[in-house]
């Protein structure tokens, strides 16, 4: 984002009261795919207004599944929330369809971009603002272009022809078009160049600071995520195995080794020096 500040299109939430109710609260959900595969078991987490909460975990841990459950799109993959509840601003939404959830101000940037390939960049953005008035649409679009100037040049390009990184920018921009109150990001830095990654994280932070946007962030880049998150959960094999403030986690030895790549000795280990393949599931104990 070009020097912050100018972002005024979102109504700031009042983040004053001592313990505001969580913007998003998940209680003990269990998700089953195809009536047979249990992908998420007994997961609970909470995101307070204005917080950035990170959700970390290895491949297949169930992070994306949690986000899909929150957004109400599990049914498209034959998944169901078997147990538990999801509260958005105190309202149970686990049975709501996706558009209803968007209307309540929660939008997701899905994993793997999932652009509307045959539509142009502009049309992708317009779809993102589907529930917005025309005036707000223009405003939101200007904001997105200020965030990703590269997209402004590619407005009329068919999205399917963009490079991976450009697609990711469109995906994030598209979600921002609806001016959400809660934003769920599934691996936003995936496939982005370092310069852009920095930019994205800076922008997430600025968004939060200037607009009070609440953010649930699924990331593999743990050091980045922990750097901006207030609180974080770590998932393994469909369960939350650890949670705490970013500070606490950053100090945890396991997290340091397996997520931040910092061994007990000072200094960074070169990837070349990793001598053996590490085994998973040690969190299960």
């Amino acid at each position: 984002m070009r020097e912050g500040g100018t972002v005024t299109f979102m109504t700031p939430t009042i983040a004053t009261s001592a313990a505001p109710p969580p913007a998003l609260a998940i209680h003990n959900i269990q998700v089953v795919y195809g009536g047979a595969i249990e992908a998420v078991r007994d997961v609970s987490l909470e995101v307070r207004p204005g917080q950035i909460v990170a959700l970390l975990g290895s491949n297949g841990a169930g992070k994306s599944t949690v986000l899909k459950a929150v957004s109400g799109v599990l049914d498209a993959e034959d998944g169901v929330i078997e147990k538990g509840s999801i509260l958005l601003n105190g309202r149970a939404v686990e049975k709501d369809p996706a558009p209803a959830i968007v209307r309540q101000g929660m939008v997701q940037v899905p994993e793997g971009r999932r652009l509307f390939q045959t539509l142009t960049v502009d049309e992708n953005l317009i779809t993102g603002a589907h529930l917005q008035s025309a005036a707000k649409l223009a405003q939101a679009r200007d904001f997105v272009f200020s965030l990703f100037p590269r997209l402004a040049e590619m407005r009329q390009t068919t999205a399917g022809y963009l490079s991976g990184g450009e697609q990711q920018m469109v995906a994030i921009g598209r979600a921002l078009m609806s001016q959400p109150k809660i934003l769920a990001l599934d691996e936003p830095s995936l496939g982005l160049a370092p310069l852009v990654v920095s930019e994205i994280f800076r922008c997430i932070q600025t968004l939060r600071e200037t607009t009070g946007l609440t953010i649930l962030l699924v990331e593999q880049n743990a050091s980045r995520a922990l750097a901006i998150a207030d609180y974080a959960y770590i998932m393994e094999n469909g369960r939350v195995v650890m949670d705490g403030t970013s500070e606490q986690l950053r100090r945890n030895a396991d997290v340091r080794e397996f997520y931040l790549g910092l061994s007990s000795q000072p200094g960074r280990t070169s990837m070349k020096d990793v001598k053996h393949y590490k085994r998973r599931k040690r969190w299960l104990s």
């Binding site: 089953v32 009536g35 047979a36 595969i37 249990e38």
Partner: protein, 348 residues
């Protein structure tokens, strides 16, 4: 529950089934099928015969649409070519029926190659429509075929003697179809588990990736059309023998659709699905017919004129309800049943 998760050689990994139970059941089914004519009445026997040769055709479409993902709305064209190839070979050229049956597979296969050529450039519905156009053109050509094809009047064919079997007996014809069908199922199963079958599926799922694996799209799409058309043509030949008559009107567009229905209801991409789908789609209308005469009694008599409509409506609703209930098709239901059976009372 099955045991035997431990394999002693890699050979065991490529077998069609590693379950003794499945082997036993298959053998039992074959024996029962072979003995069926001794117990079944005329009607059921001819119904089974229809199922058998329809399965052969359905397998053909399964190879093309199910494996390779090329949707065809014109399979009735291959069926028609197969039927006419047989009829013309036997009645016009006086060829022996064995050779005529081979022709009924070969001629459509050649046409399959021609129809396949557009598939290299066209995708999805556009290809589907070209196959539809092909079927239309075939029927127009046959109508204009004069003496050779009998134009609009069609050709009568007698039930032949094939390999010493006199097919004019319904039983003999049943056994013949059973043999052909079993062979076709086996061949397609083998095809599916070989590199050829995997290449076809790869083309369906991701043609660019398939190309980088060294799979030539031209080669395999044409191959799919070739095999598919040959099987469907053979089914056409059998159907001509069964009907003893070929005419252009005997091959309405609806047959293409029913073939697709078989493939989809059965479960895309599965040989078992093709078989189950055929049984389902071929039997469904008969079930409704007998249901109506059973329930109807006098009612059925008074509504003879609407009976056909009621039957058709029930048929349509059954298909809709079925897909609504389980869009993965019969194969999906089959897997669920098996899963429940194996895991019960646990759910996961």
């Amino acid at each position: 529950m099955r045991s035997g998760f431990f394999k002693q050689g890699y050979g065991e990994l490529v077998v069609l089934t590693d379950s003794p139970a499945v082997k036993w059941w298959t053998a039992a089914l074959l024996v029962v099928m072979a003995l069926a004519p001794f117990v079944l009445g005329n009607f059921l026997l001819s119904h089974l015969t229809i199922i058998l040769f329809t399965t052969v055709g359905a397998l053909g479409l399964m190879v093309l649409t199910g494996f390779t993902g090329l949707i065809s709305l014109g399979h009735v064209g291959f069926l028609m070519l197969g039927g006419y190839a047989y009829a013309i070979a036997v009645t016009r050229w006086g060829l022996p029926p064995e050779i005529a049956l081979v022709l009924s597979a070969v001629l459509p296969a050649l046409f399959g190659l021609i129809v396949g050529i557009p598939s290299l450039r066209l995708h999805g519905l556009y290809l589907a429509i070209t196959t539809l156009a092909f079927a239309h053109i075939v029927s127009a050509a046959i109508l204009a075929g004069g003496e050779l094809t009998g134009g609009g009047s069609g050709i009568m064919v007698e039930r032949p003697v094939v390999l010493g079997m006199d097919l004019s007996s319904d039983r003999a014809f049943y056994w013949f179809c059973l043999g052909v069908c079993a062979l076709a199922v086996l061949l397609v199963l083998n095809l599916r588990r070989s590199y050829v079958g995997r290449a076809l599926v790869a083309v369906r799922d991701n043609d660019i990736a398939a190309r980088t694996m060294g799979i030539s799209l031209v080669h395999y799409k044409l191959l799919a059309f070739l095999i598919s058309a040959a099987l469907t043509g053979l089914a056409g030949g059998l159907m001509a023998i069964y009907m003893s008559f070929v005419s252009v009107e005997g091959y309405p567009f609806l047959l293409s659709i029913e073939a697709l229905a078989i493939v989809i209801v059965g479960g895309i991409g599965s040989v078992l699905g093709a078989v189950l789908g055929t049984v389902f789609i071929v039997t469904l209308p008969e079930v409704f017919a007998s249901l109506m005469s059973f329930l109807g009694g006098r009612l059925a008599e008074t509504m003879t004129t609407s009976a056909h409509e009621v039957k058709t409506i029930l048929y349509g609703i059954a298909i809709i309800a079925f897909l609504r209930f389980d869009p993965r098709g019969l194969r999906g239901i089959w897997h669920d049943l098996r899963h429940t059976w194996v895991h019960w009372p646990l759910r996961y």
